[in-house]
Symmetry: C2
Subunit: 340 residues, 2 copies
């Protein structure tokens, strides 16, 4: 049926071992013999059997990604598909595959990693959505699975991180709004249990105090449209209603913008709005959204590269990606006169 290394050995008149050495570019065969073996293998149309390779070399030639999200909300996050696509661009070049697991709960997430480990499905994993005190680090350490994290967790981690600073973009958003005369700039953040939820809030806080402003209007939301709406409603109800809101992602910003408009407010005349992610839709909203582009494609590509080089035995060193720059569109404008 399919041609095996045995067939090649027989056809070339050498032993299995010699064929293995020749095909893997290892020493142990002369150049002449190597050429001959390769030629025979080519003629016979031999292709390596990944399963056999996996068994004997104890490698899976695959990396894993466990996505812990409410499945119903997973579709709302534009980050993952693009991130996965980025991972793939690297993997295909190295004949690796991506094994994807979706987990609905924290338990399921842990089980996901445990299954990947127990079945040796993967040689390493990429950790996204790092949490402030992330139990996965200890888990993976105990499971002895190499990993790469997106951004460096606060917990001490033995795994290399691929870092993309999101504070600069948020700070730029604050500065941009301040330059437009805003002083009451609110922030609708993501869950503060996530390091990116927290770092964006801190970035907003720091930029605010740097500008001599009080960072008082903060609402912790959950990155969903529903959460964005609720947080916006709360901010707009408050006595010192903000004239601008910085959202931790585009989805919440869009929901907030729509909500504000439904109240009769005009964006940006009555309320300025910024997002984070720069989803495709952001450009096509009315008004188009001022936002900070995440670059999930690049992030995925580099994270996968990082993981593969870690698997190849390279020392674990963090990689820093360029900080994304604020993209100014029409959802931000001068502070309203009456609010001065």
């Amino acid at each position: 049926m399919t041609v095996t290394i045995n067939d090649v050995a027989q056809a070339a008149g050498v032993s299995k071992g010699a064929v293995s050495y020749a095909l893997n570019g290892q020493p142990g065969v002369s150049d002449d013999t190597r050429e001959r073996i390769l030629k025979v293998a080519r003629e016979l149309g031999w292709t390596p059997n990944l399963r056999a390779k996996s068994l004997s070399s104890a490698k899976a030639f695959a990396v894993g990604l466990v996505v812990a999200r409410d499945p119903r909300l997973l579709g709302t996050d534009p980050f993952f598909p693009a991130f996965i696509a980025g991972i793939e661009t690297t993997l295909v070049e190295h004949e690796y595959a991506l094994v994807l697991t979706v987990a609905a709960s924290a338990d399921a997430e842990e089980m996901g990693y445990r299954k990947l480990a127990a079945d040796s499905r993967v040689d390493g994993v990429i950790l996204t959505d790092m949490r402030v005190d992330d139990s996965r680090i200890a888990l993976l350490k105990s499971l002895k699975i190499p990993a790469v994290t997106l951004n460096r967790p606060e917990t001490s981690s033995p795994f290399p991180a691929v870092c993309m600073d999101d504070t600069e973009g948020i700070a730029a958003a604050v500065e941009h709004l301040v330059s437009l005369g805003h002083t009451r700039i609110g922030h609708v953040g993501g869950p503060q249990s996530y390091i990116h939820g927290r770092s964006r809030r801190l970035a907003w806080q720091n930029a605010m105090s740097k500008a001599g402003l009080e960072a008082s209007s903060f609402i912790e939301a959950d990155f969903t449209a529903a959460g964005g709406l609720a947080a916006t409603a709360e901010l707009l109800r408050s006595a010192q209603r903000p004239t601008a809101i910085i959202y931790a992602n585009d989805l919440m910003a869009t929901a907030g913008q729509s909500y504000a408009q439904s109240l009769g407010l005009t964006v940006p005349d009555d309320l300025s709005i910024t997002g984070y992610d720069d989803t495709e839709l952001a450009t096509y909203l009315n008004p188009p959204l001022t936002t900070v582009p995440a670059d999930p494609l690049l992030w995925g590509r580099v994270a996968a590269q990082q993981l593969l080089s870690l698997l190849g035995g390279a020392p674990a060193a963090d990689v820093y990606l360029p900080s994304p720059k604020l993209v100014v569109r029409a959802s931000t404008g001068p502070v309203p006169q009456h609010a001065e």
Copy 2:
């Protein structure tokens, strides 16, 4: 190190073969011996080595999904993440894994399937985004990979399909608009090379002629926000400007709605709009979007079930999922007076 079937055999005082039979619930060992072997295996903490199983049983215990999309646009489609989550809910129950491939081009897509086949990474695949004359069917047939398709392709296909009728929802949208007095109802469709792009257009056409209306305002777009905007602009420029537009997905509808609003039109007073997908954001737009919920989670779950039972040797039979029903929100309203 890890405990193998050999260790169990030795500890139980039987042969490897007996252990294998016992662990797999196969005949060939007495109940007493089986019990004893299972007990020993449990005590020793034996877990099957998937790689060895894969090699000897020639199965991968994984299914594949090749997503062919421009990676940069992948994030805009809320379908995939939820669909994948649905697949996962089935797979975890059966100890199967999902191998995901992202392909940017048609060539890459074919390569994706070929690689999965050559490496025997998967035991079967799920085909989404069926095209009118879909080359993947012949490809998979030649590669001898079992498959399940989303909806039945027009090409004759040996693979079972999981069908979810989208025509009913579109027809309902037309009827809904007709009942509101609209007569000029346009359609912004997806690429007509996709069967779901085409079937939605046909559903619109049929419903229109059923209502005695002319289905003349059709623009073929590409499911992206940019495409939705361009198509909307074209429709609104036309002499017989439609008073309502049915979009083939929410993303285009949202972009269209924003564009219309940016022209100073009011939705739905000047223009009614419907989408397709019922993304989370649809509820939180201003106005909230009338749309047809796709149920990617269910679709994924059933497709995976279908594939697994196919792999288990069940005969290939199509499955029909309930047709999604139109969800009416505030983006549709009575036809404008002056347009009567």
